[in-house]
């Protein structure tokens, strides 16, 4: 049987990827440039008995997404920068209460209303730090329509596996361009479901450390009754202010990500074996970078690309290793230096860092990257 093939936008592919992953609940609020995700989900979810709800605002959409997940459904919401600002309150809730869910955020310019229809890559830090308090973050950056589909499956897998919110951060170019995609067949991609409790209801504790850093999560209405709160809590889910318990819980929540960085971090190395220059790129900008790398290689320039697929946790280890091998990093990004800052932190002064930064609503084109290569010392 030949595969189902379609020609569609990144946003549409994201919705279909979510459905492949087993998403059964979507709560959202209309916002450009992400609305196609809600539109596809509103049409597709009821066909499989899933639920779609358009909430009264972005805050409510995030809240309902968490509620749906606690009641046992894999849950998704979609938004863009201004919506992300509003969702941060409840993203923090999902972090501390450890509720799996996926936030698909099509990045647009900002701050505030910014440029609703222009491409941008400026929600990297808002995804990383955008709720108060310490927390770990997982964020993925797709570069093509097919990859958006596949990454949505991975985002759900990571959310379920590590029991936490996961961000998918396409830029507007990836979200709106159309490409051919192949729908994955059943079994072709791994689909992970959250671990259900193995103990009977009377013994269940929602944050029981004896089951490791990611304790099993029961669903409301499945025969288990337990308490969930946004307060710092003990293993039984009830609030505590006991210093040792609070410290241990907070550290476990960071550790569950940082001890599994090798499982979570995904990247692509392109023509880097003999490279003197490394272009570090992600999202649509990586497409310009690949184009530029190929052009430059034809002229004999030893340049390659490190393409970030998991932006958070940042690929520290890989960039550190490259810093010892290349003369310079070129970091093209549609913001004023968010990724550069991370590369600089990892490079520790061992390589020159050249940023290309655009926030004018225009994409970074290959010529700009080729020009920048001339500045490498």
């Amino acid at each position: 049987m030949s595969k189902k093939v379609a020609f569609m936008q990144g946003n549409e592919a994201a919705a279909h990827g979510a459905l492949y992953a087993g998403c059964k609940f979507f709560a959202g609020y209309p916002i450009t440039p992400s609305t196609e995700v809600a539109e596809v989900m509103s049409a597709e979810l009821p066909k499989i008995g899933g639920k779609f709800i358009q909430m009264e605002d972005e805050i409510g959409a995030m809240a309902a997404t968490i509620g749906g997940s606690l009641a046992g459904c894999k849950s998704l919401t979609a938004t863009s920068g201004p919506g992300m600002s509003l969702k941060q309150e409840n993203i923090g809730y999902a972090c501390i209460a450890e509720v799996p869910c996926v936030i698909y955020n099509v990045m647009r310019g900002g701050p505030s209303t910014g440029m609703p229809t222009g491409p941008s890559q400026s929600d990297l830090m808002s995804a990383r730090w955008g709720t108060h308090g310490d927390h770990a973050t997982i964020a993925l950056t797709p570069a093509s329509v097919q990859e958006t589909y596949d990454m949505m499956v991975r985002a759900f897998n990571l959310a379920e596996k590590y029991r936490m919110p996961v961000h998918v951060l396409p830029d507007e170019i990836v979200a709106h361009m159309r490409e051919r995609i192949e729908f994955r067949e059943q079994g072709e991609l791994e689909v992970i479901d959250r671990t259900a409790p193995s103990v009977p209801p009377a013994e269940y504790k929602p944050y029981d450390p004896q089951f490791g850093d990611v304790p099993p999560l029961a669903a409301f209405g499945s025969g288990y009754k337990f308490h969930v709160t946004g307060l710092n809590k003990a293993a039984d889910g009830f609030p505590t202010t006991k210093a040792n318990l609070v410290q241990a819980e907070e550290e476990r929540q960071i550790r569950k990500v940082m001890a599994n960085v090798d499982d979570i971090v995904d990247f692509e190395e392109y023509k880097l074996d003999d490279a003197d220059i490394c272009v570090v790129a992600f999202g649509s900008t990586s497409r310009s970078a690949r184009y530029a790398v190929n052009e430059a290689r034809e002229k004999g320039v030893k340049v390659g690309m490190f393409r970030i697929k998991t932006f958070w946790p940042f690929p520290d280890k890989q960039i550190k290793a490259l810093a010892g091998k290349v003369k310079a990093f070129i970091v093209p990004e549609m913001n004023l230096g968010m990724c550069s800052l991370e590369v600089e932190r990892c490079a520790q002064g061992k390589a020159q860092i050249l940023g290309i930064n655009r926030v004018d609503g225009e994409p970074i084109n290959p010529d700009q990257i080729l020009e920048k290569m001339k500045e490498v010392k």
């Binding site: 093939v5 609703p116 229809t117 709106h176 361009m177 490409e179 010529d367």
Partner: protein, 181 residues
């Protein structure tokens, strides 16, 4: 073919985005090539100058936007003024002779006919002007075969409008060939 860049431009509501999507589908689904379609998005898609870009190649398309335009369709003077700046030397400019009267200076293959009027008066519905233009663009560029272009058109339109679109596509194709002689 290493990389071929097309831009459909005109006014919002002329169906240019659809024309771009159909061409890209013809290339990527029916012709087995690689294609990316993107568009201007937002208020201008609902009026004012509007564009839809298609990149077609044999290998995966990296940069999804036009760098040097190989072929440009202009259905309004405003669009022609705004979007012809990066037309490649020796590239193709397809335009509506009733609506675009000032052509950019440069060494292009300029092919014009009354695209909108053809749709309105000869095919019978102005709404299919984008399909007339698409037929013409495929005839001039040969970027996909005539058959695959038609297949993509017919797979996108409702059953009731199959004949209308078929006629629009054929008429655009023929008129462009005649006009370029």
């Amino acid at each position: 073919m290493s990389r071929y860049e097309l831009r459909f431009s005109g006014a919002g509501g002329q169906g240019l985005i659809t024309a771009g999507i159909i061409l890209a589908e013809a290339a990527s689904i029916h012709e087995g090539k690689q294609a990316v379609q993107s568009q201007s998005y937002g208020p201008e898609a609902r009026g004012g100058a509007s564009k839809s870009e298609v990149i077609i190649a044999d290998a995966p398309v990296d940069y999804p936007k036009v760098t040097k335009c190989d072929a440009l369709l202009a259905l309004t003077q405003e669009a022609c003024d705004k979007y012809s700046h990066d037309l490649k030397e020796g590239g193709i400019l397809l335009y509506d002779t009733d609506l675009v009267t000032k052509l950019p200076a440069g060494n292009y293959k300029k092919v014009g006919f009354n695209i909108i009027n053809t749709a309105k008066n000869e095919v019978g519905r102005e709404i299919v002007a984008n399909i007339v233009a698409l037929g013409a663009m495929i005839a001039l560029t040969g970027v996909v075969s005539r058959e695959n272009g038609e297949k993509a058109v017919l797979s996108r339109v409702p059953a009731a409008f199959l004949e209308l679109n078929k006629k629009a596509y054929a008429m655009g194709f023929e008129k462009a060939l005649a006009a370029s002689k």
